[in-house]
Amino acid sequence: MAEARYQLCRHIISNQFGEVVETVCSLMVKLGRIPLRSIVRESGLTPKKVFDVLVTLIQHGMITHAESIEGGNTVAYYSPNLHEILRRARIGIYLKVLHDRLDPDGFKVANLVLQNGVMTAKQIKRSMGITAAQKKKLAQLQKSILTMVRERILIAVQPKDLLTKSDRLISEEKDMKSKESLIITANKLKEIRRQAREKLDYEYDDSAIVGMASRVKRKATGDVGSSDLFQDDLYNPSKMHIAGDSSDVVEDDAFFRLNFDKLDVLLRNQQIIQYFARKINTGASAVMKHILRLTEEKVKSCRETSSNRITANQIVHSVPADIPLKDTMVMDFEETGNRETRHIEYVHAYIELLGGDPSGILAKRDERGSGEYQVDFQKAFETLRNKYVDTFIQEHFGSVATRITRVLRAKNKLEEKQVAQFAMLPVGVCRSHLLKLFNLGLVDLHEVAKSSDRFPARTLYFWYINYEKQLDSMLSIAYKQMANLYIRLGYEKSSRSRLLAKMEREDVKLDPSLLGPSEVKAIEEYNKITQILEASLIRIELVVLTLRDSLVSKYS
């Protein structure tokens, strides 16, 4: 797993930032937390080059740094943010989501911010060549940026973002300890640590949007989370505002970056919609799309286990009447009323159908407002995870192995004979499939010795699914395959380097007839190959999104 992840990180960085950045970054991924002098020594690059690389990586949020006083000197330690590095393989999909969601100006802004890592509104305007004189364009751009900030697609970068979560916890703990006048007992220390964790969680849950100011008046949100930690005026809590105020404007000097957590939510939601499209039909997916849209505002990241509650009436009003639901559902009673009434009936019927789905993704919580519903993201994660694991097993080992996996998932720990009984398979067939799955880490074995000597004949062997191990195995496979795709992409590129260099020439760009027929054919073939390889990368990345980033407890 670690090796596969390391290799993938290397290839992602090399593909997006080039070899020099890759050298430094892969070194950091390999060695972990490391000071600047060690990076210079190990990489063999000049200090200036290393420094430039570090700035670039910090700018893109791929490394964090913390300072520590050692022997009277302040030493800065840099550590890689593996999560952010691996997430960069998803940039293409993010752009597609942004393209579908934002207006042209918004998409340009997103592209610009993505290229530069972090930017202020002022810098964005300057880069887009919009001056104060172009009032209409400026207003349009400001509106686009404001919408993006309100929807949390753009979020302000704060000093705490440059620290790792553990550094923030340590810093918080240190501050709290310094306030104590008495000797800190073990219980007190435990309490301090709990409070520090709670404070960080509070910051996460806080609905305030940083980086927005009000034209009318400033409203403090009562945030206590960051007031002690960050003294910078720009990030003072008094400048924080609740989203949705019509008089809000984006602060010109606040630095913004793309909120990948929010984009992950949108991607995850797309997968839920696709799941229902495949399982039920397009009508169900259309209704689910609007349900998820209603929950999007409150969901900040994939860490959240469930959405806010929404009523059936809210859903009905959000589904446009022009969506053709009539042809996708057969009612058990005769249709009455006008078109609008019938549409409402269909939406209600779909809500009930989705609520009754065994996956449990849409759960009915109350009867209020024609029924109150909640999207259970934990269930959605489990459903999508199982779907990916099952299809992989089916393609890799066949439908019998998939059946065995599902038996173990439903019944938990079982002996070989019991598995065979439930799966209605001969014990021998069952055993061979279980061993294949075991070798790949997709199922696990629990030994229960009947005697203290742990003699094999007097030991019970129970097969079960160790979900963490299964996910690690799946991720390991995905990482290795992605790395292989990157290697192949690199190979395809390097094997046509002369041709590609010719393509980059100004004269060839202006006059494509300078290319011979065989060269044109080779370019077409190259484009086709890269398209296939990149499409495969995106497809695997979507699996990784579910397996790694939708997991509530482990990776977040």
Partner: protein, 326 residues
């Protein structure tokens, strides 16, 4: 009940009454009961009668509570036993006791206290006289179990309808499951609108009993199957991801409060198994496409040896070459 022995069988009146009572009582009759039922006899008379009848293989002794009981042996059984030696009779009785579960040779040896060779000889003799047969259990196919020739082995031994010659008949199971899936599918989606679905209140999804009736009526299976067997198949189909049980149930008045009560609720063959009669819906089968197996690495037999700079690498991979040229 056994027909009365001929009148000139040389039994006294009391011995005849004793034999009749011993035949009527399934668990046999004790000496005390005999003394109550036959007036004027004492323990010594009972002992004499027991000796005479047992010598003629007309009764057998069995343990009842703390004491001994005497059970009558039917006349046809007597004929069979009369041609057997004493040892063979003992072995035969143990085999008979085991019923349809069968008995292992070692167990017979232990229960009769006979030598292994004697038991083996007796079994051989009984088999040659077509009185017993050997069967194999699906749980332990190596172990030979013995039971009377006319006894049908229990389901625990044969494995039920899914086993043919001690082997799981996978082909039969798959064919049956396929037919059941088609039946459930036909009831799960409207025929005139293939992409449409029924509402959550739809009640015409098939139940276990209806599926069983469909299987038996259409003679899809020649073997008699009950709801439990059909349920096993339905569970298997659920594990295959082809069908799913309907979670929500609708208790409709006048429909017997049955879980997911179907439209033709007039089943007479659901043997009152209302609680266990589940309703099922088919899932539309999608082409399984896993992004992890779409690329050559997903199916590569030597992917373990593949590395960037190794002898086997994605750059030199023939599978990639073929895939990209496809």
């Amino acid at each position: 009940m056994a027909p009365p022995p001929p009148a000139n069988d040389g039994l006294t009146k009391n011995e005849r009454i004793f034999y009749d009572i011993a035949c009527k009582q399934e668990n046999g009759v004790t000496a005390e009961q005999l003394m109550e039922l036959i007036p004027g006899i004492v323990a010594e008379d009972v002992a004499n009668m027991v000796n005479k009848l047992s010598r003629r293989s007309m009764i057998e002794m069995c343990q009842l509570g703390g004491g001994l009981a005497y059970r009558g042996i039917k006349s046809e059984e007597q004929t069979k036993l009369s041609i057997l030696t004493q040892d063979e009779q003992m072995v035969y009785r143990q085999i008979k006791e085991s019923g349809n579960e069968g008995i292992w040779i070692r167990t017979i040896q232990k229960l009769t206290n006979l030598h292994q060779q004697v038991v083996s000889r007796c079994i051989k003799s009984l088999e040659s006289k077509s009185l017993i047969k050997s069967v194999k259990s699906i749980k332990n196919p190596v172990k030979k179990l013995y039971m009377l020739i006319d006894v049908k082995p229990s389901q625990a031994l044969t494995g039920g309808p899914w086993y043919t010659d001690q082997d799981l008949d996978v082909e039969f199971i798959d064919t049956l499951a396929q037919q059941i899936y088609k039946f459930i599918y036909s009831k799960s989606y409207p025929r005139h609108l293939p992409d449409a679905v029924f509402t959550a209140q739809h009640t015409a999804y098939p139940t276990t009993s209806q599926i069983r009736r469909y299987v038996m009526d259409n003679q899809i299976s020649t073997v008699e199957l009950d709801n439990k067997h059909i349920q096993e198949l339905l569970d298997m189909l659920t594990f295959d991801g082809k069908i799913e049980p309907i979670v929500s149930s609708i208790n409709m008045e006048g429909w017997g409060g049955r879980v997911g009560g179907g439209a033709d609720n007039d089943d007479d063959d659901d043997d009152g198994d209302v609680g266990g009669d589940k309703t099922y819906k088919a899932i539309k089968l999608q082409q399984a496409d896993s992004p992890l197996t779409d690329i050559p690495c997903g199916r590569c037999p030597i992917s373990e040896f593949c590395s960037e700079n190794g002898h086997i690498s994605p750059s030199k991979c023939h599978y990639y070459q073929k895939w990209l040229q496809f």
